[in-house]
Symmetry: C2
Subunit: 271 residues, 2 copies
């Protein structure tokens, strides 16, 4: 099994152009980036993939040990870059938990990323008063995991509209729900545990790669307080609040995401 | 150096869809297939690449020994499929000398290709009277090689309009000429020798993979007699004459090429 097949890697565009690597979130897949990615086709080289256990990746390559923490997912990213032969100056674009995964990859391979775009990042979902409010109590997250275990479809139908955001196109809720439901439930639970109980606050604080935080205005999973916290912690960050409800602006408001990234690219002389 | 980077491999579409592998001709590159490939985006998985020594491949990977014959180029195709993890049922779409290269790959790996599309194929450029007329005497081809050696740009400016076809969009002549000129002259000569003096008539005769021959009506490099010869030799071929002048219908008349391939795909239950 090659890494290219294992992670269902797609490569688009011209190799000599700036390299964008798009990383999807929990329960999602690479195709959810398509509306944003296609706006940058023509003058970028694009890498899209599914984490092992997600999307159309090879399930036989899944390991409960390797993917027990986000480091296993960061390893996927490093191995994909190695298989393609990109070694530096990649522009990382991640959604949700992939922001943390990207930071782990960046710390492991200091020159790999030139810039990082974080859409809806959260370094830690758990509250840690008095200084950090991730938005959830441990009992909330354990309740969600119990629901996943008891009634996987019910859980998917609860979470999909939360991620999509109320008032947005219902098609997005459907796409998310389909994606959740097409993920192996046991693997999804394992990924959910790794995601919900991760605490990567110190990792974000170590990052020196310039970054852009794209924060959803009204996001039940990663609220404004979390984005503002990260902006303070990160050494070279810019912060942009998107007037979006939900946790998936790349799907619900791709135009806003594209224009925020484009502005950043212009300022950073990337495009 | 990974194969993916070495051959500047692009992968597009959904891995579970029918797999199309596009192979470019001498002095050309993968982007010349874009107009045809894009017509099949959405419901196919597409593999595009540059042979080592062509396009944006890695020149450091070039070997005069390996690429002295077309077998070295066939090896590129086999290694690309291996790196991606596709093992069977690929639909091969080749232009010009890539048709012969594809046949060599097909004979080496019997289940790799499900169908083969040949645009402007020629199993042998040399005349071999009284039964075969490839279109060229040895002295013609040696003259072309001498011109390449003495005046590479002059050779490119001679050949580009011949391939593009008179009366077609001048932009295509320019694109071909640029591609010829951006190829390393020493490598181009070596590839030209391997192409001009190849005789793969017996290899085509051994092929059992179903195929479609797309023959240009007025082609100074691979004339109608060559296409008709191949159609007789091939075991499972269909033959379609395109009302096109030149040797590059995928560039000059992509719509005709797309519609011929689409008809074939429908008939063969591919799409």
């Amino acid at each position: 099994m090659t890494v290219i097949k294992r992670n269902n890697v797609r490569l688009m565009g011209n190799r000599t152009d700036p390299v964008l690597l798009f990383a999807h979130g929990f329960g999602c897949n690479q195709y959810m980036w398509d509306a944003v990615a296609s706006a940058f086709s023509g003058n970028t080289y694009q890498i899209l993939f599914d984490y092992v256990g997600s999307g159309q990746s090879d399930l036989r390559s899944y390991s409960f040990e390797r993917y027990a923490t986000l480091d296993g997912y960061a390893q996927d990213i490093l191995e994909i870059c190695e298989a393609i032969g990109v070694e530096r100056d990649v522009i990382f674009i991640g959604h949700s938990v992939s922001c943390s995964i990207g930071v782990l990859a960046a710390l492991a391979r200091p020159n790999l990323f030139r810039d990082m775009i974080f859409l809806g990042p959260s370094p830690c979902f758990l509250n840690d008063p008095p200084h950090y409010f991730g938005g959830f109590e441990r009992s909330d997250l354990e309740g969600l995991l119990a629901l996943m275990n008891q009634n996987y479809v019910g859980w998917a139908e609860y979470l999909a509209p939360v991620v999509a955001g109320s008032g947005n196109d219902e098609q997005i809720t459907g796409e998310l729900s389909d994606s959740f439901c097409s993920t192996d439930p046991i693997i999804a639970q394992h990924f959910a545990k790794a995601t919900f109980f991760a605490d990567n606050r110190e990792d974000f604080a170590k990052l020196t790669v310039p970054s852009l935080i794209l924060q959803h205005q009204d996001d039940a999973l990663a609220g404004v307080a979390v984005g503002e916290y990260l902006h303070k912690q990160l050494k070279n960050s810019q912060y942009k609040l998107l007037d979006v409800t939900g946790h998936a602006a790349h799907m619900s408001h791709p135009g806003l995401v594209v224009s925020a990234i484009s502005e950043y690219f212009t300022e950073r002389n990337i495009l």
